[in-house]
C-alpha cells in the first residue's frame, strides 16, 4: 500500500515538473548499481547480510534553485553471519532538493522500503530532512558532496518506530557534456527503544555507482 502511494507521489511530482524539465531539457535519467550491507542486532551478535542491488533514477529541475527526483532500486542480500537469513529488498525514494547557494542544498524526501525474508515481509516508510555541502573540483566538472539527514518519521510494520534514525552520505559526481557518472556512500542508522530488556539496532550502508544522461526532450502537453 505504501509503495503504491509512494509511486503515485513520484508520478505526480514528475508530471508537475514535466513541462519545466522539457523546457530546460534537463530531465536526467540514471542507471544505478549498488552494494548493500545490512546489519541487525537484537541483544546478541550482529547479523549481517551483503549483496548487490540495481535500479534507476530520474531527476528534473523545477526551477533554477529546485530539483525533484526519485529512484527505484531492488536487490538480494546474502547472509554473511551464522543463523542469518537471506533477504530481498525493494525501495522507492522521492525527494525535493533546494539549492539556495551553489555550495549548499537542503533536501526533504521519503522512502518506502520492503524487506522480504523467509519469515515474512516488513515495510518501512521513512520521511527525512537534511542538508548537504557541495564542493566543486576541476573547473566544476567534478562535484563532491557531504550530507546528513534526520528521519523524524519512521514507520516499521510489526515493530515500534526507532528512537534514533539518522543518515549520512558522501558522493562524487563527474559530468561531461550530457553524461554523468557518480559514486557514493550512504549509511543509515536506526536505534529502536529498549523492549523486554533488549534493544534492536539496525544499520544499512550502501555504496552506489550510477551513470546518467540528459534525456531527449519530451513533448509534454502544455496547459
Amino acid at each position: 500500500m505504501t509503495t503504491r502511494l509512494a509511486l503515485a507521489v513520484l508520478a505526480g511530482i514528475l508530471a508537475m515538473t514535466g513541462p519545466a524539465a522539457a523546457d530546460a531539457q534537463e530531465l536526467r535519467g540514471e542507471i544505478i548499481g549498488a552494494l548493500v550491507e545490512h546489519r541487525l542486532t537484537v541483544g546478541h551478535d550482529p547479523e549481517r547480510e551483503f549483496g548487490a542491488a540495481f535500479g534507476a533514477a530520474l531527476r528534473a529541475p523545477v526551477m533554477s534553485w529546485m530539483e525533484v527526483g526519485g529512484h527505484l532500486i531492488g536487490g538480494a542480500l546474502a547472509a554473511q553471519t551464522p543463523q542469518t537469513d537471506d533477504r530481498r529488498f525493494g525501495e522507492l525514494d522521492v525527494a525535493a532538493l533546494i539549492t539556495p547557494f551553489p555550495w549548499l542544498a537542503f533536501e526533504v524526501g521519503g522512502t518506502s522500503r520492503t524487506w522480504t525474508g523467509p519469515l515474512g515481509r516488513q515495510r518501512w516508510l521513512t520521511m527525512r530532512a537534511g542538508a548537504e555541502v557541495r564542493l566543486a573540483l576541476a573547473d566544476d566538472r567534478v562535484r563532491g558532496m557531504l550530507g546528513g539527514a534526520l528521519m523524524p518519521v519512521v514507520s516499521v510494520s510489526g515493530a515500534e518506530s526507532p528512537s534514533v534514525a539518522i543518515a549520512a552520505s558522501s558522493r562524487l559526481t563527474y559530468a561531461h557534456r550530457t553524461l554523468s557518472a557518480s559514486v557514493g556512500y550512504e549509511i543509515e542508522r536506526y536505534d529502536f527503544p529498549v523492549s523486554g530488556g533488549t534493544r534492536r539496532l539496525e544499520q544499512v550502508s550502501t555504496m552506489s555507482a550510477s551513470i546518467g544522461m540528459l534525456l531527449p526532450e519530451i513533448g509534454w502537453p502544455r496547459p
Binding site: 542486532t41 576541476a138 567534478v142 543518515a167 549520512a168 552520505s169 562524487l172 550502508s205 555504496m207
Partner: protein
C-alpha cells in the same frame, strides 16, 4: 447691455482696417479695369491716389507692387518711359519675382520693364511652408529670383555649429528652383536645429550685388537611437589564469572530501554494530582522493582559464553590431520636418 455695446465697439474697431484694405483692393481692381479698357489717364489717376501718402487706406505690399506695376505700364503707354522705368524698379525692388504677363502687357511696356530689371539688381526668395520630407525619395524645393543674369551661390548654415551645406553655385537669370534632399555635405542626414539659408549673388550686367536670407527649423522624426556599449576596460576583464594556489587547493578539496567520507561512518554508526563494511566507504574516499590528485596535477600543468574574456569581447562586439544595424535602420527611416523660422533666435 454693456456687453452688447462693447461688442459693437470691438466690431467697429476690427471692421475698419478690413474695410480700408477692401477699399484699396476695390480701387486697385477698378484701376486695372480702366487700364485694360485703355482709359489710361483715369487709371493712372486712381493708381496714384492708391499709393499716395495722403491716402487714408492701408496698402499691403502686394497691392503696392501691383499699383507700381500698372503705373509703370500706364506711363509707358503715354510715352513717359523714364518715369515708367522708375515705377517698374520700385515694383521689382519690393518683389523680385514680379513680372509682366505677355498676354496682358504690350511689347512697349515689357521693354520698359526689362530696362528697369537691368538697371537694378535684387534677389528674392519665396517664403517657405511647413514641409515633411523623406530624404530617401523627396526633396525640399527652394525658389529664388534675380532681376537679371547673375552669378549666384546658395547655401544652408547650421546656426549652432556653423556647418555649411552648399545648395547652388552658378549663373542664373530670373526665377530658379533648387532642391535639397535633407543631407549634409558628407551625405549624412543633416542635424536638427535652426538653419539660415543664404542666397548671395552679383550681377553679370552691372557691378551690383545683393543677398537674401530665409530661416528654417529642421527636426528629425524617428525612433531614438541607441548608444553602443563601450569596450571592456582592462579592469573589467576577468582573470585569464588560475592563481598558483589553485593546484594545492584542488588537492586539499579532494583529500578533505576523502577524509570526511571516511569519518562519516565513524560518526553515524552505532558501536554495537561495529562500523559496517569499511570497503564500501573506502572506495568512495579513494575516488575523492584520486580526483583531487588528478585535478591538482592538471591545474599545476595548465593554469589557463577558458577564454571567457575573448568570448565577452566577441559578445559585446556582436551586440554593438546589432545596435549599429538597428540605428542604421532607424536613420534610414528618418523623416524631416521643416518649418519656417523668424531668424537666428536660438
Amino acid at each position: 447691455m454693456r456687453v452688447a455695446v462693447l461688442a459693437v465697439v470691438l466690431l467697429a474697431g476690427t471692421a475698419a482696417p478690413v474695410r480700408a484694405q477692401g477699399n484699396t483692393q476695390e480701387a486697385l481692381d477698378r484701376a486695372v479695369t480702366l487700364f485694360e479698357e485703355l482709359q489710361v489717364e483715369r487709371a493712372l489717376t486712381m493708381l496714384r491716389q492708391i499709393i499716395s501718402p495722403a491716402s487714408p487706406y492701408e496698402v499691403t505690399r502686394e497691392q503696392r507692387v501691383r499699383a507700381y506695376q500698372y503705373i509703370g505700364a500706364s506711363l509707358a503707354i503715354v510715352g513717359m518711359r523714364d518715369s515708367a522705368v522708375v515705377y517698374f524698379r520700385a515694383a521689382i525692388e519690393r518683389d523680385p519675382f514680379v513680372d509682366l504677363d505677355p498676354a496682358r502687357f504690350t511689347e512697349l511696356e515689357r521693354g520698359a520693364f526689362a530696362e528697369a530689371r537691368l538697371q537694378l539688381f535684387a534677389i528674392g526668395v519665396r517664403p517657405l511652408r511647413e514641409t515633411h520630407l523623406d530624404p530617401a525619395t523627396e526633396r525640399l524645393t527652394l525658389a529664388f529670383a534675380t532681376t537679371h543674369v547673375a552669378s549666384m551661390t546658395a547655401e544652408m548654415r547650421h546656426v549652432g555649429s556653423g556647418m555649411r551645406i552648399p545648395l547652388f553655385a552658378g549663373s542664373t537669370d530670373g526665377v530658379r528652383e533648387i532642391g535639397w534632399n535633407g543631407l549634409d555635405a558628407s551625405g549624412r542626414i543633416a542635424p536638427e536645429g535652426r538653419y539660415e539659408v543664404v542666397f548671395a549673388g552679383s550681377s553679370l550686367h552691372n557691378d551690383r550685388a545683393d543677398s537674401a536670407r530665409l530661416y528654417l527649423d529642421l527636426r528629425h522624426g524617428r525612433e531614438p537611437l541607441e548608444d553602443t556599449l563601450p569596450s571592456l576596460r582592462p579592469d573589467e576583464l576577468l582573470p585569464e589564469r588560475h592563481p598558483p594556489s589553485a593546484a594545492p587547493l584542488e588537492l586539499a578539496k579532494g583529500l578533505g572530501l576523502a577524509a570526511s567520507a571516511l569519518v562519516l561512518p565513524t560518526v553515524v554508526t552505532n558501536g554495537d554494530l561495529n562500523r559496517g563494511d569499511r570497503r564500501l566507504v573506502t572506495a568512495v574516499a579513494g575516488a575523492a582522493a584520486a580526483t583531487g590528485i588528478v585535478a591538482s596535477i592538471r591545474r599545476h600543468r595548465n593554469r589557463d582559464l577558458p577564454a571567457i574574456n575573448r568570448q565577452r569581447i566577441l559578445e559585446r562586439a556582436a551586440t554593438n553590431a546589432q545596435i549599429v544595424q538597428r540605428n542604421s535602420a532607424r536613420l534610414a527611416a528618418t523623416r524631416l520636418r521643416i518649418s519656417p523660422a523668424a531668424g537666428i533666435t536660438q
